[in-house]
């Protein structure tokens, strides 16, 4: 089946005072229609850069150094997002691919009512008049389970709670029924209970509207709840990818295992300690020559100084490691 979104060998750099720093190194992944891909990693690993590159919202000092992003538009065309002109790209943005952000507090413009801001999508992409927009916005607000939608839409963002605002963001993103929703840590800033509600909502809306989701998070617990497949990023590259089940059962990369060990899991046995990964993510301007994770990896040896690429590891999983965990089991 043709993927809805295919990212191939994407390379992105940032121009800074000391020259250009590479933020994404040959990143490739696919999002299947109606499915959810979770992009996982610590901050600075390149997940947000990837999502912004797809949306075409990179900062002005960012440069696409190579690669392709293919998107299957509603009319059946397969569009290379990096090659098309700005106007087509803009018409896709919002209408066919939409994005919600981590900070519901700051992602809404404080000086416009939420109704205005959601309705603006309809104005931009469907050219509806004010009355029609209002009807649609109310419908959408009801869909994202905002009570008293008809009065809420005249409120300003600061009059709402965090959870409500994220619902508004979701309503805003989904009102034009995009084929792809990019959610960049949409629940990180929220309370745990609200987090669960939002995830439920997204799952439900995905089922109803049939869209694909690119879900960006550092939280493996969330991944387990919402994603179909996972790609783990580290220092601007994907180090492991695969379906959620196999990957969670048997992570192939030492970094993935480290991540899983560092989060509390509901099924954790008494006495299991949380083990943080030692060290910090190296700055992008000073990456080690081979495997970027090697300096923090307990298993690293001289071989790890050689470059390493993703390769098939198990059923439906790929891993970029000179000493993958599955291989060790096989040897042992």
């Amino acid at each position: 089946m043709t993927p809805l979104l295919g990212v191939e060998n994407l390379r992105v750099g940032f121009k800074g005072h000391g020259g250009t720093v590479t933020a994404l190194r040959d990143v490739s992944f696919q999002v299947a229609p109606g499915k959810t891909l979770a992009l996982v990693g610590e901050s600075g690993s390149g997940k947000s850069v990837s999502s912004l590159a797809i949306m075409g919202l990179l900062a002005s000092n960012a440069r696409i150094l190579g690669g392709r992003i293919r998107f299957a538009a509603r009319d059946g065309r397969l569009i290379d997002l990096l090659g098309v002109d700005a106007r087509l790209r803009r018409s896709l943005r919002g209408a066919e691919m939409a994005m919600i952000f981590q900070e519901p507090m700051s992602s809404l413009n404080p000086l416009f009512t939420v109704g205005d801001q959601i309705g603006e999508m309809l104005l931009l992409h469907e050219g509806l008049d004010a009355a029609a927009r209002r009807r649609r916005v109310i419908e959408m607000l009801e869909l994202v389970e905002i009570p008293a939608a008809a009065t809420r839409l005249d409120q300003y963002p600061h009059e709402m709670s965090g959870g409500m605002r994220q619902r508004v963001m979701i309503a805003l993103a989904l009102i034009c029924r995009p084929r792809l929703l990019i959610a960049d840590e949409p629940t990180t800033a929220l309370d745990v209970t609200v987090q669960a509600q939002i995830l439920d909502l997204m799952r439900r809306l995905q089922a109803e509207m049939g869209m694909s989701i690119l879900f960006i998070t550092h939280d493996l617990g969330v991944v387990a709840e919402i994603a179909d497949s996972v790609a783990v990023m580290y220092a601007g590259a994907i180090v492991e990818a695969g379906d959620v089940g196999p990957l969670f059962d048997a992570p192939g990369h030492h970094y993935t295992r480290g991540l899983m060990a560092s989060i509390p899991r509901p099924d954790r046995a008494p006495g299991d300690m949380l083990v943080p990964i030692p060290g910090v993510v190296p700055p992008l301007s000073a990456l080690p020559p081979g495997c970027a994770f090697a300096p923090r990896c307990g298993r690293a040896d001289a071989a790890c100084e050689a470059p390493v690429a993703l390769r098939a590891a198990g059923p439906g999983t790929q891993v970029a490691c000179h000493h993958p965990l599955v291989a060790e089991v096989a040897h042992g």
Binding site: G94, N109, L111, E120, M121, L124, L172
Partner: protein, 313 residues
């Protein structure tokens, strides 16, 4: 909100009280007998004594002060010596050119500064950005009378695009009078655009880094709409603040500019009053301008609430 307004109004009253006190003290500190000063060289001692009596200068200073405050509160700022008219009346006659000069200058300043400031922020670090910032700094470094002299000399006298001075004759209608204000306003506008440009640029830079601008872009709108609808409204608050601040600069600049262009405004009046030793007029102008400044700043603060619903008082 109303509580806040009330609180601010009380603050304003206190500030105005200090303004009045300072103005009173300044004039009372003048060396020599105020009555003799007021009457000029030809006056006799008897004249001075009778004027002192009439002005109440024989009373204890504290009573004079109270009388002065009482007068000011009831809108009596004393009597102009030169014009032999109430100071308030003299000032009222000079208000029109000054007020419109201020308005037009501000308008020109914003018209110059806002687009450049916005564009400079949008193209941060570009050649145009650096050029605009340097120009703004230069505009703020050149004395306004210098610009005024050159503009008057070349744009008015030589090219004849503007009247070179004055405020129109007896049959000058409103439009004609305003036409006389265009060149001086342009001069003041250019000088004052500097601060507004820098504020606009800085606050646009802040706003352009905000998450909701990214959200706006993610909605698929054009850059013009992002900038003009989503960014500008948010950047407006600091800009409004600086426009309030500019008022003080404007008054200072207006004194010089009114002089160069011979506008019958309050600035020119003050300079003339210095030469005429008309202290009550100087004092009255100080009071009126300072009070206006305080009131405008209050108005600006209240305007925030209208622009931004988040501001709670």
């Amino acid at each position: 909100m109303w509580r806040y307004v009330l609180k601010r109004l009380v603050g304003l009253v206190v500030v105005v009280f200090f303004v009045l006190t300072i103005a009173f003290v300044i004039v009372r500190l003048a060396p020599g007998d105020p009555a003799a000063l007021l009457l000029g060289p030809d006056a006799t001692a008897a004249d001075a004594a009778s004027l002192r009596e009439r002005l109440g200068l024989e009373r204890p200073i504290f009573l004079q002060y109270l009388a002065f405050l009482g007068g000011a509160v009831t809108g009596d700022l004393g009597q102009s010596i030169f014009f032999n008219q109430p100071v308030t009346q003299v000032l009222a006659q000079r208000a029109e050119p000054t007020v419109f000069l201020a308005l037009f200058s501000l308008l020109f300043a914003v018209m110059i500064a806002a687009p450049i400031g916005i564009y400079a922020a949008y193209r941060r670090g570009s050649f145009l950005d650096q050029g605009a910032v340097s120009l703004a700094m230069l505009a703020a470094s050149v004395p306004s009378f210098w610009t005024g002299l050159l503009f008057q000399r070349y744009l008015a006298t030589d090219l004849g695009w503007f009247p070179s001075s004055g405020y129109g004759g007896p049959d000058a209608g409103f439009l004609e009078r305003m036409r006389h204000l265009m060149l001086p306003s342009l001069v003041l506008g250019i000088v004052n655009s500097a601060l507004i440009l820098r504020f606009t640029r800085a606050s646009m830079l802040d706003v352009l880094g905000e998450d909701y601008i990214r959200t706006a872009r993610s909605k698929g709108m054009g850059e013009a709409r992002v900038i003009l609808r989503h960014a500008l409204k948010n950047a407006a608050i600091p800009i409004v603040t600086v426009v309030g601040l500019t008022f003080a600069l404007l008054v200072s600049g207006a004194v010089v500019t009114e002089r160069v262009f011979n506008l019958p405004g309050m600035g020119n009046l003050v300079v003339n009053s210095v030469l005429r030793r008309d202290y009550p007029v100087i004092q009255g102008t100080l009071i009126v301008v300072a009070t206006l400044y305080v009131a405008i700043n209050l108005a600006v603060d209240l305007l925030y609430a209208v622009i931004d619903r988040r501001v709670k008082y």
